[in-house]
């Protein structure tokens, strides 16, 4: 597609369950970012990929969060044993250097 695609667009999960969020970046974009936006908060940087490698994972909130990127394209963000404070919109962005183009986000609600 022409833009960054994220799936699912909405996810409701029970506390303690694992969830997997997917991001399809714009074709050819080497950089991929994951952000989280909680209600009333600004964007929180989670992790950045350059190709398949993530030079900096320090933004991940806890060891329940992990992310991977394969083939320099699709990325998945996995949250294990979800907690209510994980509820937020998770945004993915891809870039080829100038600007970063965002997906629509995945709205995660942990009940």
């Amino acid at each position: 597609g022409a833009g960054v695609s994220q799936s699912p667009s909405n996810k409701v999960t029970e506390k303690g369950k694992d969830v997997e969020l997917r991001c399809d970046p714009i074709s050819g974009h080497t950089a991929l970012y994951w952000y989280r936006q909680s209600l009333g908060q600004g964007l929180e940087f989670l992790i950045y990929f350059q190709g398949n490698s993530a030079p900096d994972k320090s933004g991940l909130p806890s060891d329940r969060f992990s992310a991977e990127r394969t083939g320099g394209s699709v990325s998945t963000l996995t949250i294990q044993r979800t907690q209510q404070e994980d509820s937020a919109v998770y945004l993915c962005a891809s870039s080829l250097g100038v600007g970063a183009f965002f997906g629509q986000g995945t709205r995660l609600t942990v009940v």
Partner: protein, 112 residues
């Protein structure tokens, strides 16, 4: 780490009026991005500024980066209902690995 402060946090403007949103950085900006977010939609890239004193325009929106590269302003002329939304500034720390840092956003409401 770099921090971005946006002002005002929210703004209500009568249709047709001009308005300005500011973004101030705690460190020198290597790249300053302006985005717009509408409820239920993803972020829309507006423009990027890199050079001190740079100014870019897109339709009725003009963004400037000051000479010291620590402050940017976004100016909307003759505001329209379509301008309503949340405006976010984002900064590139220069190394890439830290991702982009964002301000908390300015929520703009246009009153008819």
């Amino acid at each position: 780490s770099q921090e971005l402060e946006q002002s005002p946090q929210s703004l209500i403007v009568q249709e047709g009026k001009n308005l300005t949103i500011n973004c101030t950085s705690s460190k020198t900006l290597y790249g300053l991005y302006w985005y717009k977010q509408k409820y239920g939609e993803g972020l829309i890239f507006l423009m990027m500024l890199q050079k001190g004193g740079e100014e870019k325009s897109h339709e009725k929106i003009t963004a400037k980066l000051d000479e010291k590269k620590q402050q940017s302003s976004l100016h909307i002329t003759a505001s329209q209902p379509s301008h309503a939304g949340t405006y976010l500034c984002g900064a590139d720390s220069g190394g890439g690995a830290d991702g982009l840092t964002f301000g908390k956003g300015t929520h703009l409401i246009i009153q008819p």
